[in-house]
């Protein structure tokens, strides 16, 4: 049996030891990631009244929206935003709703499937994603949708291999649209609003 000190030396000083430990970590993460139920799914419940509200004012201003900025008919939207901001995990439905608005379309009276199909058609939503509207939103997915909506071309890897959640997240991180984290990390409701506001500013700057 290898003693603890020798083992530590072996791990730290040999390429095989270090590589082996990295591989073990990767295997552990993949195994653990596939097991058990996802508590985030329970938290990423559907937002109240998401089909019947108007957020068209959300992306029209460079500054943060406050109650005073909104005329009376927009109070419902403010309620939605407030509810979203308090959600511990934003859902895919939230992202579909807001990205529809982000893309300049109205989501009124349209179901989630129709909105999703429209976003797929516009190549904002990945056609291969099979999601439920209560699925939790991740940094990788929101980054992908933003990069597609803003037509961000990305770095060398993204140009070579096409957009992916991973490279879109790295690109959004570089452009300071998204906070530090990881591709698989869940997005809170407040973060989603901040991310979309930053993305909107970036798109405006790119458009000149």
């Amino acid at each position: 049996m290898i003693e603890g000190k020798k083992m530590a030396t072996w791990i730290g000083k040999t390429p095989f030891g270090t590589a082996g430990l990295c591989l073990a970590l990767i295997a552990l993460a993949l195994t653990a990631g596939c097991a058990g139920t996802d508590p985030g799914k329970e938290l990423a419940t559907d937002s109240p009244g998401w089909k019947n509200i108007d957020l068209s004012g959300l992306f029209g201003s460079k500054t943060a929206i406050t109650d005073q900025d909104l005329p009376y008919p927009w109070k419902k939207e403010m309620e939605y935003i407030t509810a979203l901001a308090e959600k511990p995990v934003a859902s895919m439905a939230d992202a579909i709703m807001l990205l529809t608005l982000f893309a300049g379309e109205s989501p009124w009276g349209r179901g989630l499937d129709e909105l999703t199909a429209r976003l797929v058609e516009k190549e904002i939503f990945h056609g291969g994603w099979r999601v439920d509207k209560t699925d939790p939103l991740t940094f990788g997915r929101v980054s992908y949708m933003i990069c597609q909506a803003c037509e961000i071309r990305g770095g060398i890897w993204m140009r070579l291999f096409g957009p992916s959640e991973r490279y879109c997240f790295k690109e959004a991180l570089y452009l300071e649209i998204i906070p530090a984290g990881s591709t698989h990390r869940y997005v809170t409701g407040e973060q989603l609003l901040d991310i979309l506001s930053a993305a909107h500013l970036h798109c405006e700057e790119m458009a000149g």
Binding site: P15, A29, G40, R159, Y174, L175, Y186, T188
Partner: protein, 481 residues
């Protein structure tokens, strides 16, 4: 060359020359470690700029049970240096691969492996290449980081942070003047939005080359350190810090020498501030007193260390201008000792036995130029700089930044030595020379960085063993993935 006539100095000089010449280290103006440290710092700056170091989420974030990410970068660089001895050229391939594993937003395991290969041009090698990280994949960083508040259910509230780090990481005190190094150890962080305390016990990595090369086997030196730092955050744009650091250098070789012992056990007590006025004006300052004890040249008795160092600096950016011009100024001071005739970092030919050592010396990092880059030891340095982004509105060239820095170097004690090994012991004037550095950074796309650096140092007449100028040139490319 003026030598002191004490008998112990002659014995020490013999030992120094014998072993110093055997290793070749005596001849180098700066150590290969210094150059590596400088290159590593530029890599760290790049990584921090890209926010690549993941960590635990904020307290109000909900994370899935398992959060995993990975990445890395590849860097190719070409370097050409000309110092008092010769021109050296080398190419460097630097490959890093990291993985980050977070469990329940409470436990984090981060590992980074590095593989660096340095290929010197023929006959340009340094003489001492053992005991370093340059030719094999090694563990660069690897640590566990845990939120004790959440893990142990201490109920301190989400505003209070209590975190523990175990393993190998880069550690910095204050602005990095006194401590900025990689090591193995344990760190505890306690704080909230008003103050933060950090306690650290750390051991240097075995492959780290210590500066005192008058040991018989200087390559086997290492140090232990214990430190505490308190940061007070008065606002989002102003904070002050204070720290204390105890460090003990250790050499495993323990040479049998009845007339000379080696040991350097300094303490540092310091503080400083950093802040910002508006979006344009950034300022910082740090001061440190160095106490402790050490063995001097030709002595088996310890002498006291009493030294001082400080730095003050500021940047001003014209944020409204299209090209974002930035001017910067910094003053750096490290005290010296008039009776230290050789290099300030070695025991032999170093501090005179029976006297206090007033030479400041530490293992930190502070920008002192590309060519000369002395340690902050018996030196005053004035730095002024100018930088701009000439094509900030251009889609492709928008990230190009070009700049120039000018340095002026003076000794604090004109009769004392400095860290540079090419200084002539008989040189008793203050002026050391001046240096001009140029740099250009460009990120054409998000995952590629290109950098070019060039500098030229003009030494004062008769200050060094060679009056010729020194120069430095490098270019490098980094690809992140």
């Amino acid at each position: 060359m003026i030598l002191r006539s004490r008998p112990t100095t002659r014995i020490s000089l013999f030992v120094f020359l014998t072993f110093g010449l055997l290793t070749g280290s005596l001849l180098d103006a700066q150590s290969e470690r210094d150059r590596s440290r400088q290159i590593e710092q530029s890599t760290r700056d790049e990584v921090e700029l890209r926010n690549l170091e993941p960590t635990l989420g904020e307290d109000d974030e909900f994370l899935q049970d398992i959060d995993f990410d990975y990445g890395g970068w590849f860097r190719y660089g070409f370097y050409r240096t000309r110092d008092n001895l010769q021109t050296r050229r080398f190419k460097m391939w630097d490959f890093r691969l990291w993985s980050n594993f977070v469990y329940q937003n409470t436990h984090q395991l981060y590992m980074r492996v590095m593989g660096i290969n340095i290929n010197y041009h023929r006959r340009n090698e340094y003489y001492y290449m053992e005991n370093n990280d340059h030719n094999a994949p090694r563990l660069d960083i690897g640590y566990y980081y845990g939120d004790l508040n959440r893990a142990l259910g201490l109920g301190l509230g989400s505003d209070t942070k209590l975190r523990l780090q175990l393993g190998r990481n880069y550690e910095t005190l204050g602005e990095g003047m006194v401590m900025d190094d990689r090591g193995d150890g344990a760190k505890i962080e306690l704080g909230n939005d008003k103050f933060e305390f950090t306690g650290l016990v750390m051991r240097s990595i075995y492959s780290t080359d210590m500066y005192d090369r008058s040991y018989i086997d200087f390559g086997s030196s290492r140090y232990l350190s214990a430190s505490g730092e308190v940061v007070g955050k008065f606002s989002d744009t102003f904070e002050v810090f204070g720290y204390t650091l105890f460090r003990r250098f250790k050499n495993d070789a323990s040479p049998l020498n009845l007339t000379q012992r080696f040991g350097y056990d300094p303490q540092y007590h310091g503080g400083g501030m950093r802040g910002q006025f508006g979006p344009s004006f950034v300022y910082f300052g740090e001061a440190a007193w160095q106490l402790g004890s050490r063995y001097s040249d030709g002595s088996v008795e310890r002498d006291r260390i009493e030294a001082f160092a400080f730095t003050l600096g500021s940047d001003y950016t014209f944020v409204d201008a299209e090209t974002k011009p930035k001017i910067s100024a910094q003053y750096m001071f490290g005290s010296g000792d008039a009776d230290n005739g050789g290099t300030t970092v070695d025991t032999l030919m170093g501090n005179r036995a029976g006297t206090n050592d007033n030479t400041f010396f530490t293992i930190g990092y502070i920008d002192m130029g590309y060519c000369f880059y002395p340690l902050l030891s018996n030196i005053e340095t004035y730095k002024i700089g100018f930088a701009l982004e000439p094509w900030s509105e251009d889609e492709i060239m928008g990230d190009v930044e070009i700049g120039v820095n000018q340095y002026f170097y003076r000794k604090h004690r004109s009769r004392g030595g400095i860290s540079d090994r090419a200084i002539l012991p008989g040189y008793s004037a203050s002026r050391l020379g001046h240096e001009t550095d140029f740099y250009c950074n460009w990120r054409p796309v998000s995952d590629i960085s290109l950098m070019a650096q060039a500098g030229i140092f003009f030494p004062s007449t008769h200050a060094f063993s060679d009056d010729d100028h020194r120069s430095f040139f490098s270019w490098s490319a980094v690809v992140y993935f």
